[in-house]
Symmetry: C2
């Protein structure tokens, strides 16, 4: 079942979902195996078509699924998901095959897409891998083209984040280190 408030974001606005620098959860599936991991190093790369970068360590199971399937999702966890986000960024499915269940990660499916997504997030970007073997091997750097995007319409609508008026539990997380996050704060008028 789709989460409530799960609303498409036009592709030309998709870069705005990452512009403010949130921590993401990367999810992928190949041959029936699903996984998800947290990543602080994801960034917008282009407007149209929208592209993203994300750094995926060679030790991770998610990276192998991305390389095999050519598809991944970035989603933006929210304040109540801080402990879960640390948990699936620390544990590896290589040594903890049941890590998603252990950390209670609420997965869901979208029609027509063979990719697991995480409920409770503020936004979701589905990306097709643009293979760049030199970047992947030398820098663990992956490039994807965004082919679909959604957001929780309570917090992102009409192409803008509405953190100031949305429920506080929809604020995105911004990781530093050692289990320390900051939530995104208030709007700054220019």
């Amino acid at each position: 079942m789709l989460p409530a408030h799960f609303t498409p974001v036009p592709l030309e606005k998709a870069y705005r979902l990452l512009n403010h620098g949130p921590t993401v959860i990367v999810s992928a599936r190949h041959a029936g195996q699903s996984n998800a991991m947290s990543a602080a190093w994801a960034c917008a790369l282009d407007f149209a078509p929208p592209k993203v970068t994300v750094v995926l360590d060679k030790a991770t199971r998610t990276r192998a699924l991305v390389e095999a399937s050519g598809l991944f999702a970035l989603q933006l966890p929210t304040v109540p998901q801080a402990a879960m986000t640390v948990g699936i960024g620390t544990d590896s499915a290589v040594t903890e095959p049941e890590k998603l269940a252990k950390h209670g990660v609420p997965m869901f499916e979208t029609p027509g897409l063979d990719l697991p997504l995480v409920a409770g997030c503020a936004a979701w970007l589905v990306c097709k891998l643009i293979p760049e073997p030199h970047n992947q091997q030398t820098y663990d750097l992956f490039i994807g083209e965004v082919i679909a995007a959604w957001a929780d319409e309570r917090v992102f609508r009409d192409g803008h984040w509405e953190f100031d008026s949305a429920p506080a539990e929809l604020r995105t997380l911004h990781y530093v280190a050692g289990g320390q996050f900051f939530a995104i704060g208030d709007g700054v008028a220019v």
Copy 2:
């Protein structure tokens, strides 16, 4: 003259300056020409040695200075600098040669480094370009190795951001679009 509170950050902690996804100002100098521009698309890439990515459009003067000198700085503007940050991200030195003066950008120099830095920021990372012609040409994507870093010790010390206890005007800016920023918010306990 160096800004007050300008304090070195150990290189192994430098990635933490970018982990929470702040908007940056990119500065560079070549053959006596200095420039600075805002960029929302900068990201940590590695821990040790610390590396970063930043997207620099082909139309910008700053990119030409980075390509010619092989050196650039990323610095993190703060809430009172929001209008300046939009100004130097919108105007180009190609058409507005005096854009830094127009927007009142407070530049300073550090001993032994031929690179202009911007005062009033929360942190500074000096980076040596790692030439990757394919990335630069195809994606406008630049990779740098961080060779020196500093922070305002009131807001980053002992390897951690202290936004909750620092003066509010030292919060970093996180850009969305159309002159809309969010300040980084409060810490989230895990």
